[in-house]
């Protein structure tokens, strides 16, 4: 493994047949973005999708938003719509891919990744169909042209793949508790079989703990905390007034009728978490289908950025809220910081740790822990160990 390809190691401390403490060690390079200092902001937003290729749309758009905030640039409504479409597409492809890659192992099955072959080309084709010059993340906005034919070929295969994954229409499955219940009980396909196993194992509420959901705009103090964080402690282990917030599907979808009902029944356990992922997929697909009707070209390319300022860029990425903080001085990046959702969700005092503390120690402990990690969906590999205390 190369030093850049980090991971999470979760150690479950056992005493009296229970998990009494959860230690999470991350080797993620949370301070690497410091080295973006000195670069031109356009160069940074061009570099970000390659550096963070697996969530490259969210990273680059968070970077563009931070630079725009610093310079007082307001991208046009059309630019915002086109960016939102690209982001929704990444959310859909990332969720699809993580289900195809990670969920089979939770049922002791081998993954079949062949359906995933279409996912990344869709992301690239969508970028090209909207921004032929490749400047989709340019601060202020790129040259927006719409290739309607190419754009029209993005969502249908993705919708078909999702129907294949869920063996049905995900928006209908999450439309009512009774439909969701029937699908869990009798549905075909990997997600239905996984949720059926969760229910049959009595694990719908496994991992439930007190939840502190991330506000839509992020922590109110994030700007000051990032600015003061010279040592990187906040980036590695963020908090809001001492509390570790949860971000991601459950945080964003907790008011969805199906998810709210499951939360009331199970707390923030596995079943509401997986249902929230499905609700998020359904909502993203619907929004993308609505947006694609309204995307159109923009006649005047916006001006190039330049100047000085401090800015924040917030993007709701597939795994939660992604925040970039930038300081610009005379058109160059002076400081650059990235706060990623995994730092909240896999914080040593975050929802994974809280959900595993108190879990019963038996043969299925690691499997249950892996289920909870999969429901929270880290952006890097996560492995579990146990430590037996006397």
């Amino acid at each position: 493994m190369l030093p850049f390809e980090a991971g999470l190691t979760v150690t479950l401390g056992l005493r009296d047949s229970k998990v009494t403490d959860v230690a999470i060690v991350s080797t993620r390079l949370v301070q690497a973005s410091r080295l973006l200092a000195g670069r031109d902001p356009v160069q940074v937003t061009t570099l970000l999708p390659t550096l963070y290729a697996l969530c490259g749309t969210a990273q680059a758009l968070a970077g563009a938003a931070a630079v725009e905030d610093a310079l007082g640039l307001l991208p046009s409504p059309l630019q915002r719509m086109a960016r939102r479409f690209l982001l929704l597409l990444e959310i859909l492809t990332e969720h699809s891919f993580s289900i195809l890659r990670d969920w089979p192992a939770l049922l002791d099955e081998s993954p079949d990744l062949s359906p995933a072959r279409l996912l990344r080309p869709l992301v690239h084709n969508a970028r090209r169909s909207l921004y032929p010059d490749g400047d989709w993340a340019r601060p202020g906005g790129g040259r927006l042209e719409v290739d309607a034919v190419a754009l029209g070929m993005i969502l249908p295969p993705l919708k078909a793949l999702l129907a294949h994954i869920f063996a049905g229409s995900v928006d209908q499955i999450v439309d009512s508790p009774s439909l969701f219940d029937t699908w869990c009980e009798h549905g075909d396909g990997l997600p239905a079989r996984l949720l059926r196993r969760v229910r049959q194992s009595g694990l719908g509420g496994f991992g439930a703990a007190a939840s502190h959901f991330m506000p839509a705009e992020g922590p109110a103090d994030v700007g000051e905390r990032l600015a003061a964080d010279d040592g990187g402690r906040y980036l590695a282990r963020p908090d809001y007034h001492g509390r570790v917030l949860e971000t991601g599907s459950l945080s964003r979808q907790h008011a969805h009728p199906l998810v709210a009902g499951l939360l009331a029944q199970y707390g923030s356990g596995l079943l509401p978490r997986f249902a929230a992922r499905m609700a998020e997929i359904a909502a993203a697909l619907q929004e993308a289908e609505d947006l694609v009707q309204d995307l159109s070209a923009e006649a005047v390319p916006p001006p190039s950025p330049g100047g000085s300022g401090i800015g924040l860029g917030r993007v709701d990425a597939a795994r939660g809220l992604l925040i970039h903080g930038v300081t610009l001085k005379e058109g160059r990046v002076s400081t650059y910081k990235i706060l990623a959702p995994t730092e909240w969700n896999f914080h040593p005092a975050g929802p994974l740790a809280a959900g595993l503390t108190g879990a019963r120690d038996d043969d299925g402990l690691i499997w249950r822990a892996r289920l909870l990690a999969a429901a929270l969906d880290p952006c890097v590999a996560c492995r579990f160990e146990v430590a037996q205390y006397a």
């Binding site: 190369l2 390809e5 080295l35 973006l36 570099l47 550096l51 963070y52 072959r117």
Partner: protein, 77 residues
């Protein structure tokens, strides 16, 4: 926020490739690529390195590798 390391293909055989980055050689599946690749091309690997996720243009790959080299030199990695 998994950082992606552009890796250069040094050999190909039966749908797999041997790729090199920072002196490390790895074998990776090409099954998820929709573009044709050849020896000398750069690809980005998915999490865990088991498969190539996408082909990257050489100039983008070299720019990213230069940045990653700076990270290594700084002691951040």
């Amino acid at each position: 926020m998994c950082m992606a390391v552009p890796s250069r293909i040094v050999a190909m055989e039966n749908g797999s490739a041997t790729v090199e980055a920072f002196g490390a050689l790895r074998t990776t599946s090409l099954m998820l690529l929709d573009e044709q690749v050849q020896v000398g091309d750069y690809v980005i690997l998915g999490a865990g390195g088991n498969f190539a996720a996408e082909k990257v243009e050489p100039e983008r790959a070299l720019e990213a590798l230069a940045y990653l080299t700076e990270i290594l030199a700084s002691g951040q990695a």
